[in-house]
């Protein structure tokens, strides 16, 4: 028994263990890491929103990228740090990038509706990007709820959208992946959510985080086990810290917009059914003719593939692709390089110079 224990002790790599626990200590004692380090310039600001321009060091494509991020988190997931930034990967590939950051809403933004986000923010920002770049067309990329907004915008857009990429975007709410009983009650009108949303005005970030957690991981600790396994790897620890910072950085949500999303999408599934009205204009997915790429990930519990895949059948695009990729909800946003499928799909549709 003693001999066995001695052997076990001998097999331990003490140097590695020291590094591991130092890495763990580092996570809990060091100040929050810096994020969003890729050089950028604000070309337009409106209320709390900003349109950021990331210039390609060597521009290789005429069609710039316009990124729309979600309303529940901050978009720095797309630019965590040098070497772990999707935006950096895009500009290094030769794409000029425009990112619409909606900012952090305050109580005064409680009446901003989805119509406002689509027309006053996205459409205006696309116009500004087209003017700034001098390009004839644009590629719109929407992540998560930003993908839903991007699809709505594409359905009413008058601007020339060449490509539309919807990444883990919830669009089809016909069969809810979780809590179908709740959705049933919601559709029956048993749950009155309007009054409570009105009373709070802007929904606090804590509530949004709780909602997201309940829908995906009510209890969440496995990431600490992943960290412990690789805490001796400095690069991994840095990435983990930044990613963890992002997962805890939910932002408040305009009550009017949330109410509209629950009613029009969650209850009535209007975007998919083709009867969503945005400022008296029908946002029908069949209006979309841009080249379309819809991406879902295998382990996404928040937005499983059945919430995105059916968009393919609803649009009028001649060139449309659905791609299933290995990973979780934020895998594609937090990538440090262009995934293979995107590196193949995007350049040939972006007018190489």
């Amino acid at each position: 028994m003693v001999k066995k224990n001695k052997n076990t002790l001998r097999s331990i790599n003490w140097e590695k263990e020291k590094k591991r626990w130092e890495g763990m200590k580092h996570v809990f004692t060091e100040p929050a890491p810096e994020v969003g380090l890729t050089p950028r310039k604000a070309i337009w600001k409106k209320n709390k929103a900003a349109l950021w321009y990331y210039e390609a060091p060597e521009k290789k494509y005429n069609v710039p990228l316009f990124l729309v991020y979600s309303l529940v988190n901050q978009p720095f997931i797309l630019d965590l740090a040098p070497g772990m930034s999707m935006i950096e990967a895009f500009i290094n590939e030769g794409f000029d990038v425009y990112l619409l950051d909606f900012g952090i809403p305050g109580y005064e933004d409680k009446d901003i509706t989805i119509d406002d986000y689509v027309y006053d923010y996205i459409q205006k920002a696309v116009k500004k990007s087209l003017r700034h770049s001098g390009a004839d067309e644009v590629t719109v990329i929407g992540y998560c709820l930003g993908g839903t907004l991007a699809a709505m915008y594409a359905a009413i857009a008058e601007e020339p959208i060449k490509n539309l990429i919807l990444s883990v975007a919830p669009i089809d709410f016909s069969s809810p992946p979780v809590y179908d009983e709740w959705v049933k009650q919601l559709r029956h009108g048993t749950i009155e959510y309007e009054k409570i949303l009105d009373m709070y005005g802007t929904i606090p970030a804590r509530f949004i985080e709780a909602g997201m957690r309940i829908a995906s991981y009510p209890i969440y600790f496995s990431h600490y086990a992943s960290l412990l396994q690789r805490a001796d790897d400095k690069e991994y620890v840095e990435k983990w810290r930044r990613f963890n910072l992002w997962t805890k950085n939910h932002i408040p949500f305009s009550g009017a917009a949330l109410k509209q999303l629950i009613t029009d999408l969650g209850k009535d599934n209007k975007l998919m059914n083709g009867n969503l009205m945005l400022r008296q204009k029908q946002a029908n997915l069949s209006n979309i003719t841009a080249n379309l790429l819809v991406v879902s990930t295998t382990f996404d519990t928040l937005v499983p593939s059945q919430m995105s895949a059916s968009v393919i059948d609803a649009v009028s695009s001649a060139d449309k692709t659905f791609k299933m990729v290995d990973g979780g909800h934020a895998t594609l946003a937090a990538n440090g390089e262009l995934p293979d499928f995107l590196a193949e799909w995007l350049p040939q549709r972006s007018e190489p110079i």
Binding site: K124, V178, T190, I191
Partner: protein
């Protein structure tokens, strides 16, 4: 030893998944959903009373409420919108003028060349050119001013749609 951490990770993932599946399964219940609906209604009623009383108290206590502050912020946002619209209009005017200017310049250049051939007096020609340049600048200014004054976006920018419950602004 590293295998132990790997095993621990696997165990953590499996445990987390089991706990979460159980929570989701237990929560996905008609009665809980109905109870949550009632709780939300009660909570909203309580919040409304609280807000109403704080609004009433804000006057004698002489303190602004969150609504007062947000109303001012909304006015600023409306102003920003108007400036943004004006900026858009100005850019359009600038582009319009630039587009108009380019053919003028080329026309003037050609007329300038033909004049050069016809008239040998360089001084006279320069004087005439300066005058036409001045006139053209004045015309440009007038056009821009006229455009701005008649533009509905400049003078009659739609105020933000008034939302229900908004007190002023």
């Amino acid at each position: 030893m590293s295998d132990s951490y790997k095993d621990l990770k696997k165990l953590a993932f499996a445990l987390e998944k089991n706990i979460n599946d159980t929570i989701k399964k237990e929560l996905n219940n008609e009665n809980i959903a109905k109870a949550a609906g009632i709780a939300a209604k009660t909570h909203a009623r309580f919040l409304r009373s609280l807000q109403e009383y704080s609004e009433i108290l804000s006057a004698p206590l002489n303190i602004p409420t969150k609504k007062d502050v947000s109303n001012i912020a909304k006015l600023i946002i409306q102003l920003e919108d108007k400036i943004d619209n004006m900026e858009e209009e100005l850019i359009d005017v600038k582009e319009l003028l630039q587009n108009k200017q380019s053919p003028d310049v080329s026309l003037q250049d050609t007329s300038h060349n033909s004049k050069k051939k016809q008239d040998n007096s360089q001084q006279k020609e320069n004087k005439g050119k300066d005058n036409s340049e001045k006139k053209r600048h004045e015309l440009k200014k007038l056009m821009a001013l006229n455009y701005l004054l008649t533009s509905s976006a400049f003078l009659e920018t739609e105020p933000h749609q008034r939302k229900k419950g908004e007190r002023n602004g």
